[in-house]
């Protein structure tokens, strides 16, 4: 536990001190929310558009932070030999990974809180209700996407290509899942792709809680699909995760 707290503290220091992670990982969904709400007006799902876009950006945030951000951080550390070096110290690998995951979940939680504050300030969006459901949904979604992010690192071979690979996955996924607006009018084929992606189910859960006053467990399908994707991610990560650089 002492080692976990030590590592977590330094994970946070390293994260916030790096301009890349602070700007691209933490601020990007906030920036996108500001832009989208400036462009979209009118109503979505019977509420002002900004409400649905706030939920959409929460979902974008989980993909951007817990999935892509985590994968990029891990690949960078692996390829620069930091993971290998840590593996040579007494710090147990499980403790290290637990601290890295917890750290990214803290970032995601702060990002979520910042989105609600920003929405309130810019567009007078309401504060969320059903807090227990919301926290559970964020925790489940964060964990599932972090598991997928760990799995993804096994498929990225180099540092140079990593952000390209990650963006190619995250942006279309967010688009097809409805982060940038409802998918009702998308062509059937695109909607079918969206239907298998985990982000759609996370967004559906968040929409349910934030826009429609539901509880997380009112739609067990969302919980089941997210849990299944998360379990798949962890199973793949166990087989594919590497501590040593792929190159050199």
């Amino acid at each position: 536990m002492r080692l976990f707290r030590h590592q977590l503290r330094w994970e946070q220091t390293v994260f916030w001190r790096s301009r890349e992670s602070a700007v691209f990982v933490f601020l990007f969904p906030l920036l996108l929310f500001t832009l989208l709400t400036a462009v979209y007006t009118g109503h979505i799902y019977g509420h002002p558009a900004s409400w649905a876009l706030l939920a959409g950006m929460l979902a974008y945030g989980v993909a951007n932070t817990a999935f892509a951000g985590l994968a990029l951080i891990i690949v960078a550390r692996r390829e620069t030999g930091i993971l290998k070096r840590i593996r040579g110290t007494p710090l147990p690998p499980a403790t290290y990974l637990a601290a890295v995951l917890t750290s990214i979940m803290i970032v995601f939680a702060l990002q979520t809180a910042a989105l609600f504050v920003l929405g309130r300030l810019l567009k007078s969006t309401p504060w969320p209700g059903h807090l227990v459901s919301l926290v559970l949904a964020l925790a489940l979604g964060g964990a599932a996407f972090a598991g997928l992010g760990l799995a993804l690192t096994g498929f990225i071979r180099s540092l140079e290509g990593s952000s390209a690979v990650v963006n190619v996955l995250v942006l279309p996924m967010a688009f097809l899942s409805g982060s940038f607006g409802p998918t009702r009018h998308y062509p059937q084929a695109l909607r079918a792709v969206g239907d298998v992606l985990p982000l759609k189910y996370f967004l559906d859960a968040i929409n349910g809680i934030y826009l429609h006053g539901q509880e997380l467990w009112d739609k067990p399908m969302n919980v089941a699909v997210l849990a299944a994707w998360g379990a798949l991610g962890i199973a793949v990560a166990i087989r594919k995760f590497r501590w040593e650089p792929r190159e050199g």
Binding site: L3, H6, Q7, W10, T13, V14, R17, S18, T80, G81, I82, K84, R85, R87, G88, T89, P90, L91, P92, E244, G248
Partner: protein, 282 residues
């Protein structure tokens, strides 16, 4: 008491035999240097001893542990300088040491370590502002912060300028005087000659020779005498340097001349090493 004991160690990658049954012992407090051309198996050996790689066959004991199965108690007692590896660019030198010190149950005082590796003036500088040589010293500091009994140095001075290399040698000598056991791989034969108590030469997965640097160079029977006559370089290799020198100097004095650029040289570890590696290649 052996710090490291290796018997009949074998390792293959695919069909390629990287190590073909090597054996050696390293005593506690000894500086042992593993030499050999690229691809000889040096890094494979050192990474098996560090616990990064699993061996195929043979027996390996490091500080009484089997590194293939050992966990934190083993890693408490070793320090590793990897061949190439970076650290967090945005942390300072002192912060980097603090981060790593936190992993060990009995770390050294970080300011002592920072002074030992000569980075006191850079204590509060961010890692990204350090020069290549300073970063390498930081690598060494991070490896020493847990107060290890055994230190692995994989090519620790590659890319150093001559002054930085001398400084690194002093650091390694001071580690030795603290009683640390050191396993050093290097491409610089003078480095091994300066630092190592014993040397083993690895080639294509086999140890082709092992001994003290003095045994390597002492076994060579020929001495080289060089001078210039009429602008031409003359080289004489002889097993009787005393007689050859007397003949040369007597003749020169009789002619009233000077033996220009006279040098008498015993073979260095490098000469012996190059001959050994070339011989084995034939």
């Amino acid at each position: 008491m052996s710090a490291i004991s290796v018997r009949e160690l074998r390792k293959s990658y695919g069909g390629h035999e990287a190590l073909r049954g090597i054996s050696f012992e390293i005593a506690e407090g000894e500086v042992f240097s593993l030499l050999g051309p690229n691809g000889a198996g040096k890094t494979t050996t050192i990474e098996i001893l560090e616990g990064y790689r699993m061996r195929d066959r043979g027996e390996v004991e490091v500080l009484g542990f089997d590194p293939g199965r050992a966990g934190s108690p083993f890693r408490e007692r070793i320090g590793i300088v990897l061949q190439q590896s970076q650290l967090w660019p945005t942390l300072t030198v002192a912060e980097t040491h603090k981060l790593f010190a936190g992993y060990y149950s009995r770390p050294r005082d970080i300011d002592e370590v920072i002074a030992l590796v000569g980075l006191s003036e850079k204590r509060d500088a961010r890692v990204k502002t350090l020069s290549g040589g300073q970063k390498r010293r930081l690598d060494l500091g991070v490896a020493l912060v847990g107060d290890p009994d055994l230190v692995f140095l994989d090519e620790p001075t590659t890319g150093f300028d001559p002054a930085a290399r001398r400084a690194a040698w002093e650091m390694i000598r001071s580690l030795r005087s603290l009683g640390k056991t050191i396993l050093l791989t290097t491409h610089y034969l003078d480095e091994a000659e300066q630092l190592a108590d014993r040397v083993a030469v690895l080639r294509e997965g086999v140890i082709i020779r092992e001994g003290t640097p003095a045994e390597f160079t002492g076994g060579a029977s020929e001495t080289e005498v060089r001078y210039r006559r009429n602008g031409q370089e003359v080289v004489i290799r002889t097993t009787e340097p005393t007689r050859v020198l007397q003949e040369l100097t007597t003749q020169a004095l009789a002619e009233g001349g000077e033996l220009e650029g006279l040098q008498v040289r015993r073979p260095t570890l490098e000469d012996v090493y190059l001959a050994l590696v070339a011989e084995a290649a034939e």
